[in-house]
Symmetry: C2
Subunit: 223 residues, 2 copies
């Protein structure tokens, strides 16, 4: 691992491998949690049913209730699990930056879940978003150093927008994949997405001339 451990841009909901542990080896409680993570991520909270989650986990709906009490508490447990996992992964990343590439993969296992929960307005997961914003802020700080002109807007606000934009990709994965011609969660598509993001993040999307014209138009036309 001799390469620069720097993450290629703002976090980072871009790849989403399912875990590496054999599903059958997990306890029923863990299987239910994993199944819920999957269903909530792919279908959203409303469409996911207790019955379907239980079926995926290979248990009865009754057992699900026994372990988690209710659908809402199950989501709370999933949220908490994801938050803790991401925190510990983040700590690991800070302690040992060289693990960047591998931990990024692991952390991104939760990408779809986080993005979906954010869109669904789950309050617990809001703390994750704030964490993403802080991470993005650090990235923007470096980028801002390389600028000649002063930013138009407070850095944290820009970081919030960039974070929301980053989350948009897994949220709209179906449509992105359609354009890609291949599933963005499969290795091939994932690689393409990573490369494209690297390119996007390292270049302006509109050139300075257009930008200043737009800024003028903005100040003139808008009220």
């Amino acid at each position: 691992m001799t390469t620069d451990p720097i993450e290629p841009g703002p976090p980072s909901l871009r790849s989403f491998n399912e875990g590496t542990v054999a599903f059958e080896d997990l306890t029923a409680r863990a299987r239910i949690r994993e199944a819920a993570l999957k269903h909530f991520a792919e279908e959203g909270y409303e469409r996911a049913t207790i019955r379907s989650i239980a079926r995926t986990a290979g248990v009865s709906p009754g057992l699900l209730r026994h372990h988690y009490g209710s659908k809402d508490l199950l989501r709370a447990a999933c949220d908490e699990y994801v938050v803790e996992s991401l925190h510990s992964l983040n700590a690991q990343l800070i302690a040992d930056p060289s693990s960047s590439a591998s931990t990024r993969r692991t952390s991104n296992r939760f990408g779809r879940y986080v993005a979906r929960s954010l869109a669904d307005g789950s309050s617990t997961v809001g703390t994750i978003f704030d964490g993403m914003v802080t991470l993005t802020e650090q990235w923007l700080a470096r980028a801002d150093d390389a600028r000649s002109d002063p930013p138009l807007v407070d850095r944290r606000i820009r970081a919030a927008l960039v974070s929301a934009m980053a989350a948009g990709i897994p949220l709209l994965h179906e449509h992105v994949s359609r354009v890609l011609g291949t599933d963005m969660f499969e290795p091939e598509g994932d690689r393409l997405v990573a490369l494209a993001l690297l390119d996007i993040y390292s270049h302006p999307l509109i050139n300075k001339g257009v930008a200043s014209a737009a800024k003028t138009a903005f100040n003139t036309n808008d009220d």
Copy 2:
């Protein structure tokens, strides 16, 4: 209207005014559609109920069925309405570019609905996404002209990612607004978002040195 009519960046789901026509003046059928648009956009398809939509529209659930047949057909009707509206607005924009600023506001009335539908995987609205991608492609074409290095990835793929990212903002409006300290759909927040996006779009998010390091790391570590 002497300023440059050029749109400030990729489309453009950034502001979301409700229409300008008095709600009470609409026919029941139209009121139902408007109410559905609102509920689907704000709560998503699942959480929105026929009853609540009918209540907002000021009609009975039975009348809703009379006009639209079923909840699913109601969504289809909304999708179709939005697609047609955006197409006609797009045509208007092409015919008279100077109407840019005002039509942008009107078109963005559908922003939240489109973003939410895209996330929900509505197939009809997929065509809108493809349209967004094509528009974004045109923007990237200009930006690409100003580049010295060749893009790493096909332009349409990059356009798809940028489109998904742009849609992420209205999707996560709740969290964005929290960081903003003000509702991003209200004039003040909307203005801030527009300005921040202008800034973001016109500057790279990571500098070239970091980018090339990340690219090397990418090629080395990833398989």
